[in-house]
Symmetry: C2
Subunit: 277 residues, 2 copies
């Protein structure tokens, strides 16, 4: 059997290219045997840049011996025509979907270049930046009295259970203000939630993790420490489970989950009082 | 003229729904006059959940008086069929694009549920989490000697010019390790780059911002301070420009740009030595 050739995949956009890349990655993940080399081509917002991009596509085709795959979110007809002069499998997101949407809504789309990523929506954007600042300022149990009232979600869990990257993802992707609080041995000895968390019970969400995995992650940080030892990890996780069960905190196991999956689950569970949630 | 009715828009997925939502937002941004109410429906991974989701779609249609728009990344045929029993404009990302890809690649797709977001790609995922930890540990000039050697990008600029959210976005979306360093009055007096930055000249990228906007952002943090005054902001920005020009640092103005746009521009400029860049 012949070997699968490497294909070059282009993500072409008149804006950042992030929508094209997100969809492209999702679709290519359905072909685990494929071998793909990825090229980003953002800000292709005039014909000259489209002609240059078409040349790059032709070069890749010659180098690979197979034609490239192009995920595109271009909205300008002339730019699209210039790009299509290269030979490739073009998967045009705009072209496929905008027609049915125009018919359904009874409105013409603006065909506005650079708007494709939707960040022109400045209220949402402002929420996201505020939420990122909030997550940075309320990471790892850092919070002044009363500030947690502003949080949409408060994550709790033992050190290195995934709270910080999840808080940041919730902020970045959804504009959700997430604080996070570590559960530490002192909390287990007192058998109480830290600080003023009891006041915000409806906002709490717990993360847990398999002790083997936790020990592995902690070893990378502090090799051969008591902190990283399997015994200690198992003790902390057991104690955290007891505390969360007693306090009636919803939780999930982050061991085999991505921050995307954890965040989507949290948003199904914790009620965020804002339009869009 | 009659008022535009509010439409309910569903983002339906057997996974997190983030791909459906990203594409949906991009397309809806082309209809600035539309009024949309958004509903996320992640983890629709069996027929029962699809039937329940179809019921939600019918309810929304009845409440709005117009049929909803559904962006879907479902991959299972039976689940899709159950969902399509509701009346809506279905924009199926998987269905539209997977056929042409299968033909082109000469491979069957796995139709693997929950894989659509592509995060099964665990090497990339590991890079992203490491990069987030790196950005957190190297925010705002915090770096021990030698650690910057690991950075892919080092952002510089005056306080509140957008360095921190951009560093985090580079990490989260692209797995790029970004440190950031504030340029402060002491640097301007010495007219030199802070710390050991001169050693990493090829990794440096500057952010600047209009003094009016900077003053506004700083006022929200420290009202009526010298730090936030327009005069001081103008002084710091002028001095930063001089320093960056003298040191030959590429930069861009973040005033009207999103972190997505800033990040995509940085990746076009700074060379990241890793597959995929």
């Amino acid at each position: 059997m012949s070997e699968v050739p490497t294909r070059t995949v282009f993500f072409v956009s008149d804006g950042t290219g992030i929508t094209a890349e997100t969809l492209g990655h999702s679709l290519l993940a359905q072909f685990p045997e494929g071998r793909f080399r990825q090229v980003r081509a953002p800000f292709v917002d005039d014909i000259d840049k489209a002609i240059e991009c078409a040349a790059q596509i032709r070069e890749a085709a010659a180098a690979d011996g197979v034609r490239p795959i192009v995920f595109s979110t271009l909205v300008n007809d002339d730019t699209i025509a210039a790009l299509h002069k290269a030979d490739a499998l073009f998967l045009d997101l705009f072209e496929r979907f905008i027609g049915p949407l125009e018919t359904e809504l009874g409105q013409r789309s603006t065909h506005a270049v650079g708007r494709f990523h939707g960040i022109a929506d400045s209220i949402n954007y402002k929420h996201r930046i505020e939420a990122i600042n909030f997550a940075m300022a309320h990471d790892d149990g850092v919070s002044s009295d009363g500030e947690l009232a502003e949080a949409d979600v408060i994550l709790v869990g033992v050190s290195r259970s995934g709270k910080t990257p999840t808080s940041l993802y919730l902020a970045m992707q959804f504009g959700v203000k997430a604080a996070n609080y570590p559960l530490i041995p002192e909390d287990f000895e007192r058998n109480k939630l830290p600080g003023e968390l009891h006041k915000y019970r409806t906002k709490l969400f717990g993360l847990t993790i398999a002790p083997e995995r936790l020990s592995q992650i902690r070893q990378e940080r502090r090799p051969n420490s008591r902190y990283a030892s399997f015994e200690n990890c198992r003790y902390e996780i057991d104690a955290a489970h007891k505390l969360m069960r007693r306090e009636n905190i919803r939780w999930l196991d982050s061991t085999t989950k991505s921050i995307e999956e954890i965040s989507a689950t949290i948003l199904q569970t914790v009620r965020v009082d804002r339009p869009g949630f």
